[in-house]
């Protein structure tokens, strides 16, 4: 079990980030190497300044709000929650002062960001069973949602135990020791594998690793391509 814990918490993390980084570079380079389409594809009416509307389309999704406002709400909450959780995970490595503009304990939101993300993921998963998305969905769609759901359930429970139920073991300081040790290539998992609920961290990291490795080869690349595609739409 110790060996399995180590494999998941150390080499698998390194491999997943290496696959993630090289996969994204490979995908982006392979797209850039392709020829440009010589005709304009913009939609009218033109709206200027173009870049402002590109960013608005990308981050506020007004077209989704118009078509499906409920879905828009869940998409916004989902992406905002992911943003806050990314900041929270960065703070698990090091607390940068810019993130403390709003003073908070790690993670911002006292567990409610994870809860919100969980509810959004359940919505996205279940709408694929019953809406027009059902006929469009392929196994990849369900797999990504399930991986994220498992990652978020386990990660949120680690946070809720601490913030809602004062469970004192495995504090942010101990996570920081583990993550920093990975960054400096001197992995040390002792401070996060001693507790009875360390298995939850191991599973959380396991599912996160799988998601991260799958990312560059899936529709998750919309994270990279949305801005250039919206620029193409706006002209």
């Amino acid at each position: 079990m110790d060996t399995l814990n180590y494999i998941i918490l150390v080499p698998m993390v390194y491999i997943s980030f290496a696959v993630f980084a090289s996969g994204i570079v490979y995908k982006v380079v392979s797209i850039l190497k392709k020829p440009a389409l010589p005709i304009p594809l913009k939609i009218f009416p033109e709206k200027k300044p173009v870049w402002l509307h590109v960013l608005k389309d990308t981050f506020l999704m007004p077209m989704v709000f118009k078509a499906k406002p409920v879905m828009w709400f869940f998409l916004i909450v989902f992406h905002l929650s992911v943003f806050f959780l990314i900041i929270g995970h960065i703070e698990l490595v090091h607390v940068f002062s810019i993130f403390q503009i709003i003073e908070h304990e790690i993670f911002l939101g006292k567990g409610f960001v994870g809860l919100a993300l969980l509810i959004c993921l359940i919505y996205f998963l279940f709408r694929r069973f019953s809406s027009e998305a059902r006929n469009l969905s392929v196994p990849e769609d369900y797999l990504l949602l399930i991986l994220l759901l498992l990652t978020v359930i386990l990660g949120s429970e680690l946070d809720w135990a601490r913030t809602w139920f004062d469970f004192g073991e495995m504090t942010p300081g101990e996570y920081q020791t583990y993550l920093t040790s990975l960054l400096v290539l001197k992995p040390d998992i002792s401070e996060v594998t001693y507790s009875g609920h360390s298995f939850m961290l191991v599973f959380h990291v396991f599912f996160a690793n799988l998601f991260i490795m799958f990312f560059p080869f899936s529709k998750m690349m919309h994270a990279i391509f949305t801005i250039p595609l919206n620029k193409i739409r706006r002209g």
Partner: protein, 419 residues
């Protein structure tokens, strides 16, 4: 499927994989938001009629042959083998799509289904499985360009039979030619369709504006674009470009044909002439007071259908409204924003396929008929030949009880003699 054919089809597919199309194929999250935007899906809510479902027909071939996933775990994305059933699926997808691009306005990523369908259409052409009539019409247009000297005189003789009707709409001065051709250094080369209705009103308005114009020997419509054959699209377009260069015109004015306008405007590259639609030219004439039009000779409430290739895809939205507001005090728009208007359901070659697609075209455009009826108008105006034909068919089928008219003919009929 024959191995050689599959190889050729995949080469054709790969040839279409530009940066943009590759991103379209990589990015769809299959969220289904696009279903709210497609007139076909909203008129006939069947899964295969959503834009994303059409794109998936192409995307699943992409996954099989151009992604690692297709080799090691094809079931993950339901990657599909390119076989005869795949060709049938490509045909159904491509020719249930008018290329209106309304889906692009709702997709969070701006995925252009028309571009993805262009892959399907090209593959059908390579497989000789495209609607034959579209290819034949494209070939006729191309051969006309190659042998124009043989048909020139016949065309000019035919124009003479239209001259009296042009003069009836607008009397010209003695010695002036009502429908000039081959005018070197003309300001405008007008490219009409093969029909008197496309030539007579336009000629009258040009003459009223005292325009230095000349009529093209070629028809504007680009069947190569409808069938998705890039080489035929270019050859048909090149006839007009070469004529414009030969006559050294300043502007090429495309008649009421959405696809022709968009093809020449956006695909001709940098040219010495500018490209405009006749709607833009007429709006300019009114604005510059080169023509004067009488208001309210057309009675009743009037509404306007935006041809997708001209409006959403070509940017010509304000000009028809400007003209109509000079023709009537009773103009009502179909929706708050022109870009929200539904497609008529006739584009992408569907009208050109005639009776073969009639049933589909009618059923798939129910939302358009409802949109027209909701305006309670007695007159429905448009600025595109395909749209006019489709809307006329919808008028009969859904008993919309409207008079379907071309905007150009309304301008011509409203001309006031004193300028």
């Amino acid at each position: 499927m024959d191995i050689e054919l599959r190889k050729n089809l995949l080469e054709a597919f790969e040839g279409k994989l530009t940066k943009t199309i590759s991103m379209y194929l990589e990015t769809c999250s299959r969220c289904g938001i696009c279903t709210t935007s497609c007139h076909v899906f909203n008129s006939m809510p069947r899964p295969e009629y959503s834009p994303a479902a059409r794109a998936e027909v192409v995307r699943r071939l992409y996954k099989k042959y151009f992604k690692l996933q297709g080799k090691i775990l094809p079931s993950l994305g339901e990657a599909k083998t390119l076989d005869d059933t795949a060709l049938d699926d490509l045909n159904r997808a491509a020719y249930s799509c008018t290329g209106c691009r309304r889906c692009m306005t709702h997709c969070p990523f701006g995925i252009d289904t028309q571009q993805i369908m262009s892959i399907a259409k090209l593959m059908l052409v390579v497989a000789h499985a495209e609607p034959e009539i579209l290819s034949m019409l494209a070939d006729v247009s191309i051969s006309k360009g190659e042998s124009i000297d043989l048909i020139k005189q016949g065309f000019i003789d035919g124009l003479k039979r239209l001259e009296d009707e042009v003069i009836e709409k607008w009397k010209i001065e003695a010695g002036q030619i009502p429908i000039p051709t081959e005018v070197k250094d003309a300001d405008i080369l007008y490219v009409a369709l093969a029909g008197a209705h496309s030539i007579i009103p336009a000629a009258a308005v040009f003459n009223a504006a005292q325009e230095n114009w000349t009529l093209s020997f070629f028809e504007a419509v680009n069947f190569g674009a409808f069938v998705g054959d890039p080489s035929k699209t270019k050859l048909i377009m090149d006839r007009i470009i070469n004529e414009a260069k030969r006559l050294n015109v300043k502007e090429v004015c495309i008649c009421e044909c959405g696809t022709a306008f968009r093809v020449l405007k956006q695909m001709s590259g940098k040219q010495s002439f500018k490209v405009s639609s006749i709607t833009q030219v007429h709006a300019r004439y009114i604005r510059e007071k080169r023509i004067k039009v009488e208001k309210n000779i057309f009675k009743g409430t009037i509404t306007y259908h935006d041809p997708c290739q001209m409006a959403r895809n070509g940017g010509v939205m304000d000009e028809p409204r400007y003209i109509l507001n000079h023709l009537t005090d009773n103009f009502t728009d179909m929706s708050k924003k022109p870009e929200d208007n539904w497609c008529c359901g006739g584009g992408g070659g569907l009208v050109a396929l005639g009776d073969d697609t009639h049933d589909f075209r009618m059923k798939s455009a129910k939302v358009k008929a409802d949109q027209v009826k909701a305006t309670h108008s007695s007159m429905l105006v448009t600025a595109c030949e395909n749209c006019h034909s489709q809307l006329s068919d919808l008028n009969k089928y859904y008993k919309m009880d409207v008079d379907v008219k071309f905007l150009t003919s309304m301008v011509a009929d409203s001309l006031i003699k004193d300028v």
